[in-house]
Symmetry: C2
Subunit: 374 residues, 2 copies
């Protein structure tokens, strides 16, 4: 095995991988910067990283892509950080992806279905994808994963990258970690790890796409619970207990949805570390804190409008979707935290209910074949 | 099975368990309060909870035990909280334990060997013990567990109870959790769970004494690392990453020391939850924060003297003991966080080194037979 294959899984030294980032928000821009600095160093990748930008006209009258390509800076979503001259903004989605065989998806999740539909038949058949998108939908029949959507619509393999990564801290090159979740193809996962890793951004891979991706969504429900505890001034003991119970429910829910999910995934950056970051900072925690301080008398809709300029909290909608799955299957008692978060968020229970259920170790023998998951 | 056996494992309705708490500091007093409120409710326990108090003369000239027995309050170590009239302070160690068959040990760990030696031959042969003591010694040949010390010197079975439990928050009846670790005897563990559980203090049991007890010690090393990160103003991403790496090293170290240790233990209150509490608050974190803010120029000895009135940080001595085990076995590379914490604490590396090692997934195949632990 040559040194090249050992590092990036590329057995043909003449074949260079070409990277395109689909998305250019805050996290997308940070990802493009990080990838761009790595493609310059790694011989098996083309230097250029193309970034699809949803075109906007800035207050100055200039196009966002023109400014990015002139100043190497996304002045709107990542001001003050140079992306590198080899990051090229492209307003044309189909043109941006046409030569790429490494596709990095990092857009708001509600846009992904539309984007994939536009890309059907337009991506290379040998392309590999990775999704950095947190927050897919949990439907009745189970969670609808963004990685599956990409795989199914585009007919390509799709990994995920999740973790305790606050974009602005990574932009400043502060030490952090991430987890790549992959299905079967270890050498592809290693190529992604290689492409994303830096001395300050440590990436490792686990063979568990669903586990990694579910961590990224379900943590937001736990962050609401942590925010309620903060808003009630309950202290660190209580907050730690709630986070722990939340991590357990994330784990059990994921394993009941996908029997392939592994316990070890929850010890990775995408699991316990992302949960900690999200429950310490993060907007789900923050708005839930305000909700509890107001005794639940002001609705999430009202607080979101005031605190988030109309953006919606993912945790609230995920809690609702999870609750629907639990109700349909009669599993509410197995998930007292998830259930209570939803009931608090719709005003059926007061915020203090978050610590009023007693834990009564859930009886998983009630769920056929599920005892092994606990 | 009668309802009595189902609840507390007591198959003889005429046999009542008698509880003595050995220790009366802050956590000991909270434990006595909690146990005293439960013995009044549970028919299989004698109402009285005896508490051995290391006698002191208060500034008023009164004996501490006299004040506790008159006012039902440990005015020195838990002022403002009523212990209950059935908690009886006893300055005579041998007298306090002589009738008890449920012994709760909760003293500073350095006193335990002396206390056990005084108790040899003085405890009932059918007594069961539980240790709430965090911080045993890690010796060359492996960790020296307090529960083993008690078992070996007194010839009785010993469980442990650990978790995210800050005594003062539990005294105020804020929601929190704990984990009982037991060896073999499930029915004894259930009796302890029953004796400690309240609606606000949720206890569960795992068959893993060593895992539970090691969590209680090793977390203090991770708390130093978290404190360094705080003192360097590194942000939540970095702190979460360091806590996660710390949890992994706790897990791998424990499993290398005792092959019986279980992964699931680290998902319990004694694992991830206690780690979170300790890294958010706690004096190890606090002094390490000050150490890093001073650029390591003021020693831990100096900061401890100033900030802790001469008390010593457990994390610093545990880090040293762990380091000795790692050096002797040539395992430093497998535990970059534990190793770095010690080297920072003795001034060999600057505080910023805590995020300068790159993670390079440790190669456990170097340790014979250990690959399975990772």
């Amino acid at each position: 095995m040559s040194p090249t294959t050992a590092i990036d899984g590329n057995s043909n030294p003449n074949k260079k991988f070409k990277v395109t980032v689909v998305g250019s928000g805050n996290w997308g821009s940070v990802a493009a910067k990080l990838l761009g600095s790595n493609t310059l160093k790694l011989s098996s990748f083309h230097d250029e990283v193309r970034m699809w930008v949803f075109e906007e006209t800035l207050p100055s009258g200039e196009k966002l892509t023109d400014v990015i390509n002139r100043d190497n800076e996304n002045v709107k979503y990542l001001p003050g950080i140079k992306l590198g001259r080899n990051v090229v903004a492209d307003p044309d989605l189909v043109n941006a992806v046409k030569d790429a065989n490494m596709l990095v998806f990092v857009t708001p999740h509600q846009f992904m279905e539309g984007i994939c539909k536009k890309l059907v038949g337009k991506v290379r058949s040998d392309a590999e994808a990775i999704s950095l998108i947190k927050g897919m939908e949990v439907k009745m029949e189970g969670p609808c994963m963004i990685s599956s959507l990409i795989s199914e619509l585009l007919g390509i393999n799709c990994c995920v990258l999740m973790g305790a990564n606050i974009a602005n801290e990574i932009a400043k090159e502060m030490f952090s970690e991430a987890t790549v979740g992959y299905r079967e193809h270890r050498e592809v996962a290693e190529r992604w790890v290689n492409l994303f890793s830096t001395t300050y951004f440590i990436v490792s891979a686990v063979e568990d796409v669903e586990g990694v991706e579910l961590c990224g969504t379900l943590k937001n429900v736990v962050a609401l619970a942590a925010g309620f505890v903060d808003g009630l001034d309950m202290g660190n003991n209580t907050k730690a207990a709630i986070m722990r119970i939340g991590l357990r429910e994330m784990r059990v829910f994921s394993k009941l949805m996908f029997s392939s999910v592994k316990d070890n995934t929850f010890f990775e950056s995408c699991g316990v570390a992302d949960l900690i970051t999200t429950c310490l900072g993060g907007r789900n925690r923050k708005v839930a804190d305000a909700f509890a301080r107001n005794g639940g008398k002001r609705s999430f809709d009202e607080l979101e409008a005031e605190m988030l300029q109309g953006q919606k909290l993912q945790g609230v909608s995920t809690a609702k979707e999870v609750y629907e799955v639990l109700s349909k299957r009669g599993w509410q008692e197995l998930f007292p935290l998830f259930t209570t978060v939803h009931e608090i968020s719709i005003g059926r229970l007061p915020p203090s209910a978050i610590v009023e259920y007693s834990e009564h170790t859930p009886n998983f023998s009630l769920v056929e074949g599920s005892a092994q998951y606990y």
